[in-house]
Amino acid sequence: MGGKAIISTPLPSARAVGQKLGVDKRRVAKLIRLMDSIHRGNRVSPVPLGKKRSVATKRVNVKAR
């Protein structure tokens, strides 16, 4: 234990890490938006990431009103 190594390498950005792991860059951008939103203290959207509500759902909501 207690190696002499000094960990001085600057840590890469989320984009660089995503690229290294082979994560699609649009997916990385989406994750970055999610984390920025959480960091700002916003509620996480109840709509799953990247999944838009269908037109049918919107129509039902309009009728309900």
Binding site: L11, A14, L21, I32
Partner: protein, 171 residues
């Protein structure tokens, strides 16, 4: 540091080959032996994977030319002396099974790192990552985050959270 795990490597390579490959790739490894417990499913058996992987790491670190730093974590003090007396003389980092103490233990293990976040900052990242994990589970419709895709997503999310919380990372 970029977290790596065996689960993220696709393909039909033998699990053991994948583990060895990852250990060779990484300069640091963290071995938490606190979960070496009896599995309740029949037949009840202890899980030996983690001590086995620690053994592989120690062997590789002693034989390979490049330096590899390994760190042992345990929930209870003195348990390591009993369960793995071959490591007598090695001081494990004790976390008591609590996230806060684990973060504290990690800061002690990585005391030589250029980045020295406070416990409050690490707790902030942990809280943000918990929220992200819930969102990811919902989106990917999975119960476990210990699969290739959710794990990659979590690593990217954690890096971003760290960037947002610690100014030093983006410099």
């Amino acid at each position: 540091l970029t977290p790596r795990a065996t689960i993220e490597i696709p393909g039909g390579a033998r699990r053991l080959d994948r583990i060895l490959g990852l250990i060779r790739e990484c300069r640091h490894s963290f071995h938490d032996l606190s979960r070496v417990e009896i599995d309740r499913r029949h037949p009840p058996t202890p899980r030996f994977n983690m001590p086995f992987e620690l053994g592989l790491t120690v062997a590789l670190a002693m034989t390979r030319g490049r330096r590899h730093n390994w760190y042992v974590f345990e929930a209870k003090s003195r348990r390591l002396n009993k369960s793995l007396s071959d490591l007598d003389g090695t001081d494990p980092y004790i976390h008591g099974g609590e996230p806060r103490r684990l973060l504290l233990a990690l800061t002690n293990a990585l005391v030589r790192s250029r980045h020295q976040p406070t416990i409050a900052q690490l707790e902030q990242i942990y809280a943000e990552l918990r929220r992200a994990a819930r969102a990811l589970k919902r989106e990917l419709q999975t119960e476990s985050l210990f699969e290739a895709r959710p794990f990659h997503d979590l690593v990217v999310a954690a890096t971003r959270s760290a960037q947002n919380t610690l100014g030093t990372l983006s410099r």
